[in-house]
Amino acid sequence: MGPTVRAISSSSPPRPGEIVLTRRVMRRSAIWRWIHWIDVVGILVCAFTGLFIAMPFFVLNNLYLMAWVISIHLYSAVVLDASVFVIAYLYLFSRNEREIHLLRPTRENWINLKEAFLNVVTLNRRKRFDSSRPDPLNALFFLLLHLMVIVQLFTGLQLYVDGFLGNMSAVGAWWPELLHFTTDWTTVVMGGNVGVRMVHYGTMWFILSWVVLHIYYEWWRTVVWKESDIAIMFGGYKYAPVDSPGVATEAPTANGSSFVGASENMAGAERISNVR
């Protein structure tokens, strides 16, 4: 007898030697993958250079070291800030991957959020949501990161303009005036420039904790679900069991999904077999 072939349910793990039918699902377009890896580099560079600025832990004379470290910190911070603006734009206006749909308080989103959460805390004993598509739990988790980066943006620009001489800058007075107008509230809220600095510094630790949790969650999904979630950020595709919700229907966009991109791509999803 050959191996048994079945289209397994995503909630029942495959047995040894079983052939599982999966399909390839396009999850992230190239722009999102670029943003992701740029942000990975940006966050790590910002954290490392930021720790060095707080306490120069090694000394190399005559290399203009601190000036370079501060410049690199500012360069990567600007890249991070720009990526947040691009992300905000895509959240609101992207044609295919409008993530804001996942953050709206609709009934479906609440159910999916609850089920995705229960999936983690029950250690995958319960999996009653469509893992082939983005879920509100991860969307909320990422919103947290974006908010923290925005905190870094405001506090960081305040610390930056703090060093300007009056309203003079290389590009004209409008730039420090704009920075003062948009970020001076942080000194009032956080207690002077020392308070702003502490918030900027503390938020870095929250972002690093977020990174730890994020890497683990994606690794956990990959290992436990066996759906190659980590591959999304390399090729854009993941693999989902063919009988997962949303596949059997002929018209995937008619299944009440609010996530447009994945549903459209699902219509053209390849059916391939994967021996586990």
């Binding site: 120069p56 003079m168 290389a170 020392v194 503390g202 630790w205 436990v224």
Partner: protein
């Protein structure tokens, strides 16, 4: 003058091509100069108050006219005025006696008074302060007891609406204001501030204690000490912080008033921007060593002898606004960083809790902050703990997931283990 013009000016050694339409860079605002001269004429016409004789004081202390004009030129530059204003500033200094001053002292060490009284060789600023038209000053006046009280009352009545009230020291509000009293009648200091400031032309908070609460307001602040601007309302308040305040900044602020009839522009912390407009870090003579990554590692090491950057020894210049690097103390004799010690941020709010220690903010210092670890160090410990907790949570979840998976496999394969050698039923 538009100082931005200096950034865009042509510094080439070649003679610049003639541009008849371009405005010249160093234009003196003639309207402003006429305004200042009218103001000085008005002050000159006013009655001189007794007790102020600048020329006599300078002569008695053997300070030449040349020395006085040097000082005037320095103050003119510090105020951000072109050098053609030097004669006007010198005249304003001679007319300072037209401004009555009442100086009261609360919770303080008298350090701001001492700063100009105890110099071995008195400077022009210090002589001017000593010979100001002081109507009441507990440390320097001859009268005492009820006699002094009478002087204060009559001066406050005679010059109502005209005198400048200088407050030295913080104002205790705890115990219903009972922690500090003034004078023979033991009037509560907070009440004295309120009654005298009501009729003042302006209130100058001299030193960090009056400006921001300073050391008396440091944690745990047992006396409920507070700043002048929290008690005084309805009158312009100018803060001249630093511990002690630089006499030049104090005299310059009053000179600005005599010269223009207006109090100088202030920042959000009510400090005159002409004196407190830039970070010490930005005009620090050791800044190049900061950028180059050249730091003093230990007191007295080779780097310290080479005047390298003091950031790692706890210099707080990057957080502190003051003009120490440009005007220094005691007629630019020295200031902390020039003397080889880092800045302790004494002109910033809450400096005693947040800045005044000889280590960078990133190191552990005993002081306020959660867990009593000090400011940034507590953030560090908290943050590293947060990452560790996240890591532990991750590990627990991962192990639990692995156990759950092998359990569910075992139950699906009928209690058998899940190795590949198992025989299918």
């Amino acid at each position: 003058m538009d100082r931005r013009a200096l950034l865009t000016g042509d510094f080439s050694l070649e003679p610049a091509p003639k541009q008849p339409s371009a405005p010249p860079i160093n234009v003196v605002d003639e309207g402003f100069r006429r305004q200042c001269e009218a103001r000085l004429a008005e002050m000159r016409a006013a009655d001189a108050l007794p007790g102020f004789d600048l020329r006599g004081v300078l002569a008695r202390n053997k300070l030449s006219r040349r020395r006085f004009l040097q000082w005037s030129a320095g103050i003119t530059a510090a105020l951000g005025l072109p050098s053609v204003f030097t004669p006007q500033v010198a005249e304003a200094a001679e007319l300072l006696g037209r401004v009555p001053v009442i100086w009261i002292e609360g919770q303080s060490c008298t350090g701001n008074t001492e700063a100009f009284l105890r110099a071995s060789a008195p400077t022009v600023s210090e002589l001017i302060l000593q010979s100001l038209a002081l109507q009441y000053h507990e440390t320097v006046m001859a009268g005492a007891g009820f006699q002094a009280e009478e002087t204060l009352a009559s001066a406050a009545k005679q010059y109502a609406g005209k005198y400048v009230l200088v407050i030295e020291g913080s104002i205790p509000t705890g115990a219903n204001g009972g922690y500090a009293t003034n004078g023979a009648s033991a009037q509560k200091f907070v009440d004295r501030v309120a009654s005298l400031s009501a009729n003042a032309a302006a209130v100058i908070a001299a030193g960090s204690c009056a400006s921001f609460g300073g050391i008396p307001a440091a944690s745990p602040n047992p006396t409920g000490a507070t700043r002048v601007s929290d008690v005084v309302s309805g009158v312009p308040v100018i803060n001249i912080p630093a511990c002690p305040m630089n006499p030049d900044n104090f005299v310059g602020t009053i000179l600005h008033f005599v010269l223009t009839g207006q109090w100088p522009a202030t920042d959000s912390l009510l400090r005159p921007t002409w004196a407190f407009g830039t970070l010490i870090h930005n005009s620090c003579p050791r800044r190049a060593h900061f950028d180059a990554g050249e730091y003093v590692q230990n007191w007295g090491d080779e780097a310290a002898q080479s005047n390298f950057c003091l950031y790692k020894m706890g210099c707080k210049g990057p957080y502190t606004y003051n003009n120490c690097p440009s005007i220094g103390y005691n007629e630019n004799t020295s200031w902390p960083i020039r003397a080889g010690h880092g800045c302790i941020g004494c002109s910033q709010p809450a400096f005693w809790d947040q800045l005044a220690f000889e280590r960078p903010l990133a190191t552990q210092i005993p002081g306020p902050g959660i867990f009593g670890l000090g400011l940034q160090s507590s953030v560090d410990k908290f943050g590293a703990g947060l990452v560790a907790v996240a890591g532990v949570g991750v590990a627990v979840h991962a192990v639990a997931s692995g156990i759950a998976r092998s359990k569910s496999r075992r139950s699906e394969s009928g209690g058998d283990d899940d190795s590949e050698t198992s025989v299918e039923p």
